[in-house]
Symmetry: C2
Subunit: 125 residues, 2 copies
DNA sequence: ATAAACTCCGTACATGGGTACGGGGTCAAT
DNA sequence: ATTGACCCCGTACCCATGTACGGAGTTTAT
């Protein structure tokens, strides 16, 4: 059983963040003995790790709450995953288009003699 | 000369957004005659269009303010562009990695018989 | 001349994901 | 027994980029 500070350190989160997740109902408040100090067992630590991993995959906290409540319903989870996949793929193609435009712009700077007239600025005007 | 509402319509921005950009010093407050109403000539309209285009390329408002003040210094603009390019490219590779992971996860759902045990949830645990 | 539509200003609210603060109580080490 | 480290709670604040509101003045159309 760990106090909130120990748990935070173990998971590389801040104490405030754990309290924040509790406020947002991502995790439950654990048992609190006389002292009033939260005491965590492994089950909440595991949930927090789940949250961190899902966050790293780009799920929002709301979606993570969803995911956790969908435990035991694989097709729901799958459809949330597929939805996320679509968003990710469309972001990728947006960014690739952008990459192309900005590349072209910076290239045109390279072949530009007149320092006081920038082709990037010009093309935005 | 256009009032703020006409200008907003012409640029497909909201009146509030134009006032916001003014507060943020992206554009100057135009002349205001007796009535107190802002009256815009083309120069500010052009600046707003510049802002919109730069925003579409993924520049933040702060960067756009920078860009506008860099007019006439091509190498500075170029380096801001290259910096943005790097950020975009690293976002793309992050997202591609994510895409891969989520694809694998959702695929494993497809070949999963047990609806009540989701491999996505399992892999996050 | 009256009503509708527009503008003014300042301020508060929204989103997402936290971070920081302040005044207290508690626990662990010396 | 004292000191320092830890924890409690509620609240306010941060970032970026706007959006919304409300009461008052102005312009425009009928």
């Amino acid at each position: 059983m760990k106090t909130i500070g120990k748990l935070a350190k173990a998971l590389d989160l801040s104490v405030e963040t754990i309290r924040f997740y509790e406020r947002e109902n991502l995790i439950k408040q654990p048992q609190k003995p006389l002292s009033g100090y939260r005491l965590y067992d492994d089950s909440i630590a595991n949930q927090l790790q789940f949250i961190c991993r899902a966050k790293a995959l780009g799920f929002t906290l709301k979606e993570i709450a969803s995911l956790m409540s969908m435990d035991g319903n694989c097709s729901k989870v799958e459809s949330l995953g597929l939805q996320k996949l679509k968003i990710i793929q469309s972001k990728i193609s947006d960014l690739k288009r952008l990459e192309k435009v900005i590349k072209e712009m910076t290239n045109s700077c390279k072949t530009n003699d007149d320092q006081s007239h920038c082709p990037i600025i010009a093309s935005l005007k």
